[in-house]
Protein backbone atom coordinates (compact mmCIF):
# COMPACT_ATOMS: atom_id res chain seq x y z
CA UNK A 1 0.00 0.00 0.00
CA UNK A 2 1.19 3.48 -0.79
CA UNK A 3 1.62 6.18 1.79
CA UNK A 4 1.75 9.80 0.76
CA UNK A 5 1.38 12.78 3.05
CA UNK A 6 0.71 16.48 2.43
CA UNK A 7 1.97 18.76 5.21
CA UNK A 8 0.21 22.02 6.02
CA UNK A 9 -0.06 24.35 8.99
CA UNK A 10 -3.33 26.01 9.99
CA UNK A 11 -2.79 29.56 11.27
CA UNK A 12 -5.74 31.77 12.13
CA UNK A 13 -4.96 35.15 13.74
CA UNK A 14 -7.63 35.79 16.35
CA UNK A 15 -8.65 38.69 18.57
CA UNK A 16 -10.88 37.52 21.38
CA UNK A 17 -13.24 39.98 23.07
CA UNK A 18 -12.80 39.59 26.80
CA UNK A 19 -16.24 40.91 27.82
CA UNK A 20 -17.26 42.74 30.97
CA UNK A 21 -16.19 40.33 33.69
CA UNK A 22 -12.80 39.39 32.31
CA UNK A 23 -11.94 42.95 31.31
CA UNK A 24 -12.18 43.97 34.96
CA UNK A 25 -10.25 40.86 36.03
CA UNK A 26 -7.42 41.25 33.53
CA UNK A 27 -7.02 45.01 33.96
CA UNK A 28 -7.09 44.42 37.73
CA UNK A 29 -4.15 42.04 37.43
CA UNK A 30 -2.09 44.90 35.95
CA UNK A 31 -2.63 46.67 39.32
CA UNK A 32 -1.81 43.52 41.33
CA UNK A 33 -5.48 43.18 42.31
CA UNK A 34 -7.66 40.07 41.95
CA UNK A 35 -11.34 40.71 41.21
CA UNK A 36 -14.05 38.10 41.68
CA UNK A 37 -17.82 38.06 41.25
CA UNK A 38 -20.36 36.68 43.72
CA UNK A 39 -23.73 35.19 42.85
CA UNK A 40 -26.44 36.87 44.96
CA UNK A 41 -28.51 33.66 44.95
CA UNK A 42 -26.08 30.81 45.80
CA UNK A 43 -23.29 33.06 47.21
CA UNK A 44 -20.69 31.29 45.06
CA UNK A 45 -17.61 33.41 44.47
CA UNK A 46 -16.17 33.03 40.97
CA UNK A 47 -12.56 33.78 40.17
CA UNK A 48 -11.79 34.28 37.34
CA UNK A 49 -15.07 36.16 37.49
CA UNK A 50 -18.19 35.13 35.58
CA UNK A 51 -20.95 37.48 34.45
CA UNK A 52 -23.46 34.69 34.94
CA UNK A 53 -23.98 31.91 37.47
CA UNK A 54 -24.64 28.71 35.53
CA UNK A 55 -26.01 26.94 38.59
CA UNK A 56 -28.65 29.59 39.36
CA UNK A 57 -28.95 30.83 35.79
CA UNK A 58 -28.80 34.48 36.72
CA UNK A 59 -26.66 37.49 36.03
CA UNK A 60 -23.98 38.36 38.56
CA UNK A 61 -23.36 42.01 39.36
CA UNK A 62 -21.62 41.90 42.74
CA UNK A 63 -17.86 42.37 42.76
CA UNK A 64 -15.33 41.70 45.47
CA UNK A 65 -11.56 41.72 45.72
CA UNK A 66 -9.80 38.56 46.85
CA UNK A 67 -6.38 38.16 48.45
CA UNK A 68 -3.65 36.85 46.17
CA UNK A 69 -3.23 33.84 48.44
CA UNK A 70 -4.88 30.47 48.73
CA UNK A 71 -4.68 26.70 48.88
CA UNK A 72 -3.32 24.18 46.37
CA UNK A 73 -6.15 21.76 45.50
CA UNK A 74 -4.03 19.69 43.10
CA UNK A 75 -0.86 19.91 41.06
CA UNK A 76 0.92 18.19 38.21
CA UNK A 77 4.50 18.11 37.00
CA UNK A 78 5.12 17.88 33.27
CA UNK A 79 8.53 16.65 32.19
CA UNK A 80 10.58 19.52 30.76
CA UNK A 81 13.82 21.26 31.61
CA UNK A 82 13.12 22.69 34.15
CA UNK A 83 9.95 20.65 34.95
CA UNK A 84 6.71 22.57 34.41
CA UNK A 85 4.62 22.60 37.59
CA UNK A 86 0.97 23.57 37.33
CA UNK A 87 -1.46 23.87 40.24
CA UNK A 88 -5.18 24.23 40.83
CA UNK A 89 -5.37 27.04 43.36
CA UNK A 90 -8.40 28.01 45.41
CA UNK A 91 -7.90 31.61 46.51
CA UNK A 92 -9.17 32.47 50.00
CA UNK A 93 -12.85 33.33 49.72
CA UNK A 94 -13.28 31.74 46.27
CA UNK A 95 -15.44 28.74 45.33
CA UNK A 96 -13.66 28.06 42.04
CA UNK A 97 -10.10 27.24 41.10
CA UNK A 98 -7.45 29.21 39.28
CA UNK A 99 -4.90 27.28 37.23
CA UNK A 100 -1.39 28.64 37.35
CA UNK A 101 2.29 27.77 37.52
CA UNK A 102 3.86 26.95 40.87
CA UNK A 103 7.35 28.32 41.46
CA UNK A 104 10.13 28.58 44.09
CA UNK A 105 9.49 24.91 44.80
CA UNK A 106 11.05 21.62 43.75
CA UNK A 107 8.77 18.82 42.45
CA UNK A 108 9.65 16.57 45.41
CA UNK A 109 8.51 19.25 47.90
CA UNK A 110 5.05 19.66 46.36
CA UNK A 111 3.25 17.10 48.56
CA UNK A 112 3.97 19.33 51.56
CA UNK A 113 2.87 22.59 49.94
CA UNK A 114 -0.55 23.71 51.15
CA UNK A 115 -0.68 27.50 50.93
CA UNK A 116 0.63 29.63 48.08
CA UNK A 117 0.67 33.32 47.18
CA UNK A 118 0.95 35.13 43.85
CA UNK A 119 4.33 36.44 42.75
CA UNK A 120 3.74 39.42 40.44
CA UNK A 121 5.77 40.37 37.41
CA UNK A 122 7.32 43.81 37.22
CA UNK A 123 6.10 44.50 33.67
CA UNK A 124 2.35 43.84 33.89
CA UNK A 125 0.14 44.09 30.81
CA UNK A 126 -3.33 43.00 31.96
CA UNK A 127 -2.77 39.27 31.42
CA UNK A 128 -3.02 36.13 33.52
CA UNK A 129 0.76 36.01 33.10
CA UNK A 130 1.03 39.23 35.18
CA UNK A 131 1.19 36.65 37.93
CA UNK A 132 4.57 35.04 37.24
CA UNK A 133 3.66 32.02 39.38
CA UNK A 134 2.37 31.09 42.82
CA UNK A 135 5.01 30.43 45.49
CA UNK A 136 4.67 28.47 48.74
CA UNK A 137 3.85 30.52 51.86
CA UNK A 138 6.59 29.41 54.24
Amino acid sequence: MSEWIVRQKIRIPFQYTTGRALTRFLTGLAECRIWATRCAECARVYVPPRSFCGRCWREITEWRELPAEGEVMSYTVRPADPPLILGLIRLDGADTALVHRLGEVEPEELERVVRVRAVWREDRTGSILDIAYFAPVR
Partner: protein
Amino acid sequence: MRRVAILGAAQTRFEACKASLAYNELVYGVVREVLDRTGVPMREIESMVTASQDAYDGKTISGMAINEVVGAYLKSEAKVAADGLQALLYGVARILSGEFDLTLVVAHCKESEGDPAAITGLMFDPFVQRPLHLDELTAAALQARRYCRKKGLAPEDVALVSVKAHRQALKNPYAQRAGMFSVSDVLASPLLADPIHELEAAPRSDGACALLLASEARARAHTDRPVFIIGIGNCTDAYWTERDLAEARALQEAARRAYAMAGIREPAREIHVAEISARYAHEELMAIEALGLHPNLVELIAQERAACINPSGGPLCGNPPTVSGLLRAIEAYAQLSGEAGARQIEGARTALAHGAGGICGQNQTVVILQRE
Protein backbone atom coordinates in the same frame (compact mmCIF):
# COMPACT_ATOMS: atom_id res chain seq x y z
CA MET B 1 -43.96 3.63 22.53
CA ARG B 2 -41.53 2.96 19.69
CA ARG B 3 -38.36 1.10 20.61
CA VAL B 4 -34.95 1.25 18.96
CA ALA B 5 -32.69 -1.72 18.25
CA ILE B 6 -29.18 -2.18 16.87
CA LEU B 7 -29.06 -4.20 13.66
CA GLY B 8 -25.29 -4.41 13.25
CA ALA B 9 -21.97 -2.70 13.84
CA ALA B 10 -18.36 -2.60 12.68
CA GLN B 11 -15.03 -1.12 13.76
CA THR B 12 -11.57 -0.76 12.29
CA ARG B 13 -8.53 -2.18 13.95
CA PHE B 14 -7.09 0.71 15.94
CA GLU B 15 -3.52 1.79 15.23
CA ALA B 16 -1.23 4.66 16.16
CA CYS B 17 -1.06 5.75 12.53
CA LYS B 18 -3.14 4.42 9.68
CA ALA B 19 -0.97 6.13 7.11
CA SER B 20 -2.25 4.27 4.06
CA LEU B 21 -5.92 5.23 4.40
CA ALA B 22 -7.55 8.68 4.46
CA TYR B 23 -10.33 9.15 6.98
CA ASN B 24 -13.11 8.87 4.40
CA GLU B 25 -11.63 5.51 3.37
CA LEU B 26 -11.67 4.35 7.00
CA VAL B 27 -15.30 5.40 7.25
CA TYR B 28 -16.25 3.66 4.01
CA GLY B 29 -14.68 0.45 5.30
CA VAL B 30 -16.81 0.31 8.46
CA VAL B 31 -20.03 1.38 6.70
CA ARG B 32 -19.46 -1.25 4.01
CA GLU B 33 -18.95 -3.89 6.71
CA VAL B 34 -22.17 -2.95 8.55
CA LEU B 35 -24.17 -3.20 5.34
CA ASP B 36 -22.56 -6.51 4.38
CA ARG B 37 -23.24 -7.96 7.81
CA THR B 38 -26.85 -6.83 8.04
CA GLY B 39 -27.74 -7.28 4.38
CA VAL B 40 -29.41 -3.86 4.42
CA PRO B 41 -28.84 -1.99 1.14
CA MET B 42 -27.72 1.65 1.36
CA ARG B 43 -30.81 2.85 -0.54
CA GLU B 44 -33.01 1.77 2.39
CA ILE B 45 -31.13 3.84 4.97
CA GLU B 46 -32.85 7.23 5.18
CA SER B 47 -30.91 9.00 7.87
CA MET B 48 -27.37 9.32 9.20
CA VAL B 49 -25.71 10.91 12.22
CA THR B 50 -21.93 11.25 12.21
CA ALA B 51 -19.46 12.26 14.91
CA SER B 52 -16.21 14.02 14.06
CA GLN B 53 -14.21 17.03 15.14
CA ASP B 54 -13.16 19.80 12.81
CA ALA B 55 -9.87 20.32 14.65
CA TYR B 56 -8.84 16.65 14.36
CA ASP B 57 -9.81 16.54 10.67
CA GLY B 58 -8.04 19.86 9.98
CA LYS B 59 -11.16 20.97 8.15
CA THR B 60 -14.32 22.80 9.18
CA ILE B 61 -17.76 21.21 8.70
CA SER B 62 -15.88 17.91 8.77
CA GLY B 63 -19.12 15.91 8.45
CA MET B 64 -19.42 17.08 4.84
CA ALA B 65 -16.09 15.47 3.98
CA ILE B 66 -17.56 12.01 4.63
CA ASN B 67 -21.11 12.43 3.33
CA GLU B 68 -20.44 10.38 0.21
CA VAL B 69 -19.07 7.40 2.16
CA VAL B 70 -21.91 7.36 4.71
CA GLY B 71 -24.40 7.38 1.82
CA ALA B 72 -25.90 10.74 2.74
CA TYR B 73 -26.50 12.21 -0.74
CA LEU B 74 -30.01 13.67 -0.86
CA LYS B 75 -30.81 12.18 2.55
CA SER B 76 -31.13 13.58 6.06
CA GLU B 77 -27.68 13.87 7.66
CA ALA B 78 -26.45 15.60 10.82
CA LYS B 79 -23.07 15.74 12.51
CA VAL B 80 -22.19 16.08 16.17
CA ALA B 81 -18.85 17.63 17.06
CA ALA B 82 -18.82 15.67 20.31
CA ASP B 83 -18.30 12.19 21.65
CA GLY B 84 -19.74 9.49 19.39
CA LEU B 85 -22.20 8.25 22.01
CA GLN B 86 -24.04 11.55 21.57
CA ALA B 87 -24.38 10.72 17.87
CA LEU B 88 -26.06 7.49 18.98
CA LEU B 89 -28.39 9.49 21.23
CA TYR B 90 -29.48 11.66 18.29
CA GLY B 91 -29.81 8.62 16.04
CA VAL B 92 -32.14 7.00 18.57
CA ALA B 93 -34.18 10.21 18.80
CA ARG B 94 -34.55 10.26 15.01
CA ILE B 95 -36.09 6.79 15.04
CA LEU B 96 -38.25 7.50 18.09
CA SER B 97 -39.65 10.54 16.25
CA GLY B 98 -41.32 8.12 13.83
CA GLU B 99 -39.75 9.85 10.85
CA PHE B 100 -37.13 7.18 10.11
CA ASP B 101 -36.90 3.39 10.45
CA LEU B 102 -33.15 3.09 9.85
CA THR B 103 -30.37 5.43 10.95
CA LEU B 104 -26.66 4.94 10.41
CA VAL B 105 -24.37 6.25 13.17
CA VAL B 106 -20.69 6.70 12.37
CA ALA B 107 -17.64 8.14 14.16
CA HIS B 108 -14.07 8.64 13.00
CA CYS B 109 -10.84 10.29 14.11
CA LYS B 110 -7.20 10.17 13.04
CA GLU B 111 -5.25 11.61 15.94
CA SER B 112 -2.05 10.95 13.99
CA GLU B 113 -2.75 13.75 11.52
CA GLY B 114 -2.71 16.68 13.94
CA ASP B 115 -1.02 17.62 17.19
CA PRO B 116 -3.23 16.32 20.06
CA ALA B 117 -1.78 18.74 22.62
CA ALA B 118 -2.44 21.74 20.36
CA ILE B 119 -5.90 20.47 19.41
CA THR B 120 -7.06 19.65 22.94
CA GLY B 121 -5.51 22.96 24.04
CA LEU B 122 -8.20 24.71 21.98
CA MET B 123 -10.83 23.43 24.44
CA PHE B 124 -9.52 25.74 27.14
CA ASP B 125 -10.51 29.25 28.08
CA PRO B 126 -8.37 31.52 25.89
CA PHE B 127 -8.03 34.34 28.45
CA VAL B 128 -6.87 32.79 31.70
CA GLN B 129 -5.96 29.18 30.87
CA ARG B 130 -4.57 28.89 27.36
CA PRO B 131 -1.61 31.23 28.07
CA LEU B 132 -0.46 28.49 30.49
CA HIS B 133 -0.34 25.95 27.62
CA LEU B 134 -2.90 23.58 29.09
CA ASP B 135 -4.05 20.48 27.28
CA GLU B 136 -6.35 17.53 28.02
CA LEU B 137 -3.54 15.51 29.62
CA THR B 138 -2.58 18.30 32.06
CA ALA B 139 -6.19 18.77 33.19
CA ALA B 140 -6.59 14.99 33.55
CA ALA B 141 -3.47 14.88 35.73
CA LEU B 142 -4.82 17.64 37.98
CA GLN B 143 -8.07 15.67 38.28
CA ALA B 144 -6.28 12.37 38.92
CA ARG B 145 -4.35 13.76 41.89
CA ARG B 146 -7.40 15.53 43.34
CA TYR B 147 -9.52 12.36 43.03
CA CYS B 148 -6.87 10.02 44.46
CA ARG B 149 -6.24 12.33 47.41
CA LYS B 150 -9.93 12.60 48.24
CA LYS B 151 -10.54 8.86 47.95
CA GLY B 152 -7.24 7.82 49.54
CA LEU B 153 -6.15 5.86 46.46
CA ALA B 154 -2.53 4.80 46.04
CA PRO B 155 -0.71 4.94 42.69
CA GLU B 156 -0.83 1.12 42.68
CA ASP B 157 -4.65 1.17 42.85
CA VAL B 158 -4.89 3.28 39.69
CA ALA B 159 -2.17 1.28 37.94
CA LEU B 160 -4.27 -1.85 38.48
CA VAL B 161 -6.86 -0.43 36.05
CA SER B 162 -4.18 -0.31 33.36
CA VAL B 163 -2.99 -3.85 34.17
CA LYS B 164 -6.54 -5.17 33.81
CA ALA B 165 -7.27 -3.17 30.64
CA HIS B 166 -4.19 -4.34 28.77
CA ARG B 167 -4.69 -7.94 29.90
CA GLN B 168 -8.28 -7.92 28.63
CA ALA B 169 -7.24 -6.28 25.38
CA LEU B 170 -5.16 -9.39 24.56
CA LYS B 171 -8.51 -10.96 23.61
CA ASN B 172 -9.56 -8.01 21.46
CA PRO B 173 -8.31 -8.27 17.85
CA TYR B 174 -9.09 -4.57 17.26
CA ALA B 175 -6.98 -3.29 20.17
CA GLN B 176 -3.94 -1.12 19.52
CA ARG B 177 -2.08 -1.84 22.76
CA ALA B 178 -2.31 -5.01 24.85
CA GLY B 179 -0.09 -7.07 27.10
CA MET B 180 0.53 -8.74 30.42
CA PHE B 181 1.84 -5.75 32.33
CA SER B 182 2.41 -5.73 36.09
CA VAL B 183 1.62 -2.84 38.43
CA SER B 184 5.34 -2.06 38.54
CA ASP B 185 5.53 -2.08 34.72
CA VAL B 186 2.76 0.52 34.64
CA LEU B 187 4.40 2.68 37.30
CA ALA B 188 7.77 2.33 35.54
CA SER B 189 6.37 3.59 32.23
CA PRO B 190 7.30 7.24 31.57
CA LEU B 191 5.45 9.91 33.55
CA LEU B 192 3.48 11.98 31.03
CA ALA B 193 2.08 14.39 33.61
CA ASP B 194 2.48 13.39 37.23
CA PRO B 195 0.65 11.21 38.42
CA ILE B 196 -0.34 9.86 34.97
CA HIS B 197 2.05 7.34 33.38
CA GLU B 198 2.15 6.41 29.72
CA LEU B 199 0.33 3.11 30.31
CA GLU B 200 -2.39 4.98 32.24
CA ALA B 201 -3.33 7.23 29.30
CA ALA B 202 -5.05 6.38 26.02
CA PRO B 203 -2.39 6.21 23.30
CA ARG B 204 -2.64 8.37 20.20
CA SER B 205 -4.90 6.42 17.88
CA ASP B 206 -6.57 6.27 14.45
CA GLY B 207 -9.79 4.49 13.60
CA ALA B 208 -13.51 4.54 12.89
CA CYS B 209 -16.68 2.67 13.77
CA ALA B 210 -20.29 2.45 12.58
CA LEU B 211 -23.58 1.11 13.84
CA LEU B 212 -27.03 0.70 12.27
CA LEU B 213 -30.11 1.59 14.32
CA ALA B 214 -33.59 0.35 13.46
CA SER B 215 -37.15 0.71 14.65
CA GLU B 216 -38.56 -2.30 16.53
CA ALA B 217 -40.68 -3.40 13.54
CA ARG B 218 -37.71 -3.25 11.22
CA ALA B 219 -35.50 -5.09 13.72
CA ARG B 220 -38.05 -7.88 14.23
CA ALA B 221 -38.20 -8.47 10.49
CA HIS B 222 -34.43 -8.83 10.59
CA THR B 223 -33.63 -10.94 13.66
CA ASP B 224 -35.31 -13.15 16.28
CA ARG B 225 -33.28 -11.78 19.16
CA PRO B 226 -32.88 -8.02 18.76
CA VAL B 227 -30.67 -5.95 21.03
CA PHE B 228 -32.67 -2.92 22.19
CA ILE B 229 -31.56 0.42 23.58
CA ILE B 230 -33.67 0.60 26.73
CA GLY B 231 -32.25 3.66 28.48
CA ILE B 232 -30.31 6.83 27.70
CA GLY B 233 -29.16 9.63 29.97
CA ASN B 234 -27.05 12.67 29.22
CA CYS B 235 -25.85 15.41 31.55
CA THR B 236 -23.50 18.41 31.51
CA ASP B 237 -21.62 19.83 34.49
CA ALA B 238 -19.91 23.16 35.20
CA TYR B 239 -16.56 24.14 33.62
CA TRP B 240 -13.70 22.06 35.01
CA THR B 241 -12.26 24.75 37.28
CA GLU B 242 -15.71 25.54 38.72
CA ARG B 243 -16.52 22.10 40.17
CA ASP B 244 -14.86 19.58 42.47
CA LEU B 245 -12.87 17.39 40.08
CA ALA B 246 -13.00 14.51 42.58
CA GLU B 247 -16.73 14.19 41.94
CA ALA B 248 -18.49 12.94 38.81
CA ARG B 249 -21.90 14.48 39.36
CA ALA B 250 -22.79 14.77 35.66
CA LEU B 251 -22.11 11.07 35.25
CA GLN B 252 -24.17 10.19 38.33
CA GLU B 253 -27.05 12.20 36.91
CA ALA B 254 -26.69 10.76 33.39
CA ALA B 255 -26.70 7.26 34.95
CA ARG B 256 -29.73 8.06 37.10
CA ARG B 257 -31.68 9.10 34.01
CA ALA B 258 -30.59 6.08 31.97
CA TYR B 259 -31.34 3.64 34.81
CA ALA B 260 -34.78 5.20 35.41
CA MET B 261 -35.66 4.87 31.72
CA ALA B 262 -34.42 1.26 31.65
CA GLY B 263 -36.07 0.32 34.96
CA ILE B 264 -32.74 -0.59 36.57
CA ARG B 265 -32.72 -0.37 40.37
CA GLU B 266 -29.56 -2.26 41.32
CA PRO B 267 -26.94 -1.57 38.66
CA ALA B 268 -24.25 -3.63 40.44
CA ARG B 269 -26.45 -6.72 39.97
CA GLU B 270 -28.45 -5.88 36.85
CA ILE B 271 -25.65 -4.62 34.56
CA HIS B 272 -23.79 -7.70 33.28
CA VAL B 273 -21.17 -5.91 31.25
CA ALA B 274 -20.06 -2.26 31.10
CA GLU B 275 -17.93 -0.46 28.53
CA ILE B 276 -16.52 2.74 30.01
CA SER B 277 -14.90 5.65 28.16
CA ALA B 278 -11.87 6.11 30.39
CA ARG B 279 -9.10 7.88 28.49
CA TYR B 280 -7.09 7.87 31.71
CA ALA B 281 -6.98 5.04 34.26
CA HIS B 282 -8.40 7.08 37.16
CA GLU B 283 -11.47 7.90 35.06
CA GLU B 284 -12.45 4.23 35.05
CA LEU B 285 -12.47 4.19 38.86
CA MET B 286 -14.49 7.41 38.96
CA ALA B 287 -16.99 5.94 36.50
CA ILE B 288 -17.39 2.60 38.32
CA GLU B 289 -18.23 4.59 41.42
CA ALA B 290 -20.56 7.10 39.76
CA LEU B 291 -22.37 4.36 37.82
CA GLY B 292 -22.92 2.40 41.04
CA LEU B 293 -21.34 -0.73 39.54
CA HIS B 294 -19.60 -1.76 42.75
CA PRO B 295 -19.38 -0.41 46.31
CA ASN B 296 -15.59 -0.73 46.52
CA LEU B 297 -13.84 0.11 43.28
CA VAL B 298 -10.33 -0.96 44.20
CA GLU B 299 -11.64 -4.27 45.49
CA LEU B 300 -13.57 -4.72 42.27
CA ILE B 301 -10.61 -4.05 40.00
CA ALA B 302 -8.63 -6.71 41.85
CA GLN B 303 -11.24 -9.44 41.51
CA GLU B 304 -12.73 -11.63 38.81
CA ARG B 305 -15.88 -9.57 38.16
CA ALA B 306 -13.60 -6.82 36.86
CA ALA B 307 -13.57 -8.73 33.55
CA CYS B 308 -17.13 -7.46 33.03
CA ILE B 309 -15.85 -3.88 32.98
CA ASN B 310 -14.27 -2.97 29.65
CA PRO B 311 -13.78 -6.54 28.38
CA SER B 312 -12.47 -4.87 25.20
CA GLY B 313 -9.72 -3.12 27.17
CA GLY B 314 -11.41 0.24 26.63
CA PRO B 315 -9.83 3.44 25.35
CA LEU B 316 -6.62 2.78 27.34
CA CYS B 317 -5.87 0.11 24.75
CA GLY B 318 -6.32 2.54 21.90
CA ASN B 319 -9.23 4.28 20.32
CA PRO B 320 -9.39 7.97 19.58
CA PRO B 321 -11.62 10.67 21.08
CA THR B 322 -15.00 11.03 19.33
CA VAL B 323 -14.84 7.35 18.33
CA SER B 324 -14.47 5.94 21.84
CA GLY B 325 -18.03 6.59 23.09
CA LEU B 326 -19.76 5.06 20.07
CA LEU B 327 -17.32 2.18 20.18
CA ARG B 328 -18.40 1.46 23.76
CA ALA B 329 -21.96 0.90 22.47
CA ILE B 330 -20.61 -1.28 19.65
CA GLU B 331 -18.64 -3.40 22.12
CA ALA B 332 -21.71 -3.65 24.39
CA TYR B 333 -23.78 -4.72 21.38
CA ALA B 334 -21.14 -7.32 20.45
CA GLN B 335 -21.43 -8.77 23.97
CA LEU B 336 -25.24 -8.97 23.82
CA SER B 337 -25.40 -10.39 20.32
CA GLY B 338 -22.78 -13.02 21.15
CA GLU B 339 -20.30 -11.69 18.59
CA ALA B 340 -17.56 -10.68 21.02
CA GLY B 341 -15.31 -13.65 20.23
CA ALA B 342 -12.58 -14.35 22.80
CA ARG B 343 -13.67 -11.36 24.92
CA GLN B 344 -17.27 -12.62 25.24
CA ILE B 345 -18.78 -12.42 28.73
CA GLU B 346 -21.04 -15.46 28.95
CA GLY B 347 -24.71 -14.89 29.66
CA ALA B 348 -24.61 -11.09 29.35
CA ARG B 349 -28.13 -9.82 28.80
CA THR B 350 -27.94 -6.18 29.91
CA ALA B 351 -25.02 -3.91 29.09
CA LEU B 352 -23.98 -0.33 29.72
CA ALA B 353 -22.08 1.97 27.38
CA HIS B 354 -20.55 5.20 28.65
CA GLY B 355 -19.26 8.19 26.73
CA ALA B 356 -17.66 11.41 27.89
CA GLY B 357 -16.55 14.68 26.36
CA GLY B 358 -15.14 18.04 27.33
CA ILE B 359 -12.44 18.82 29.86
CA CYS B 360 -12.37 16.28 32.72
CA GLY B 361 -15.63 14.69 31.58
CA GLN B 362 -17.79 17.82 31.57
CA ASN B 363 -20.40 16.08 29.39
CA GLN B 364 -21.51 12.52 30.13
CA THR B 365 -23.72 10.01 28.33
CA VAL B 366 -24.95 6.62 29.54
CA VAL B 367 -26.75 4.10 27.32
CA ILE B 368 -28.32 0.84 28.50
CA LEU B 369 -28.70 -2.02 26.01
CA GLN B 370 -30.61 -5.25 26.46
CA ARG B 371 -30.92 -8.49 24.53
CA GLU B 372 -34.42 -9.85 24.34
